[in-house]
């Protein structure tokens, strides 16, 4: 698991397409499930989010993602899984997280994706500053 998880700026739809294409030679895969998080134009006190600026505690984040990865492979019958998260500015409408799970058969693929996304939100030290254009910012916090 020396793979690159953190991506500078938004994750492009093209990056998602390239990841899918790379799995077409794995002919034991029957089902893929992809979760994508998109920056929403949330409102707070009449101001609209224009972007989120992500930062992370990289050594801890990589360790946590390695643990999540290991646990997911132990818990579910997966062929492949990949996690990508943006660092830096991601504008409204752009993608900031991409979780990609592949299995032989479909039943476990949804639960595995949900499990991985929930653990990332809860355990990985990522920080997000919501920008309100010219009207300041606030720090995002996962519930």
């Amino acid at each position: 698991m020396s793979k690159k998880v953190f991506i500078e700026g938004a994750i492009s739809p093209q990056f998602v397409a390239d990841s899918i294409a790379k799995h077409q030679s794995k002919t034991n895969i029957g089902a893929h499930n992809i979760f994508l998080g998109q920056v929403r134009e949330d409102e707070a006190e009449g101001k609209k989010v224009t972007a989120i600026e992500f930062s992370c505690y990289e050594t801890m984040a990589e360790k946590k993602i390695a643990e999540i990865r290991e646990d997911a492979f132990a818990k579910f019958d997966l062929i492949c899984m990949h996690i990508y998260h943006s660092i830096g500015i991601v504008e409204v409408g752009q993608l900031c997280i991409f979780v990609f799970v592949s299995t032989a058969h479909r039943p476990q693929v949804y639960d595995a994706t949900e499990y991985i996304v929930n653990r990332i939100k809860k355990e990985v030290p990522l920080f997000g500053k919501e920008h309100f254009g010219e009207e300041g910012f606030q720090w995002k916090r996962n519930a």
Partner: protein, 78 residues
């Protein structure tokens, strides 16, 4: 001497990403009391990771100079 790292909103409040600290004691409670006073950090406003694991602040861990200590604001990934 301990090295403390700051991330997210905490880094913004301290104005630092890390600093060396000559603490009066090597217990986490002593270190945190100093830092909370210095930077006006409220309880519950930060989490503490030692060697990349969040720690339970009700247990008063003794720190060593080789420990990697970090104060983190709320997580916001995904």
């Amino acid at each position: 001497m301990l090295t403390i790292h700051y991330f997210g909103e905490i880094a913004e409040k301290t104005g630092l990403t890390s600093e060396k600290l000559h603490s009066q004691g090597q217990h986490i409670s002593t270190v945190l009391a100093e830092l909370q006073k210095k930077y006006a950090l409220e309880n519950g406003e930060f989490q503490v990771a030692v060697n990349h694991e969040l720690i339970d602040l009700s247990q008063d861990l003794e720190l060593t100079e080789t420990d990697e200590i970090a104060l983190l604001s709320a997580f916001a990934g995904g």
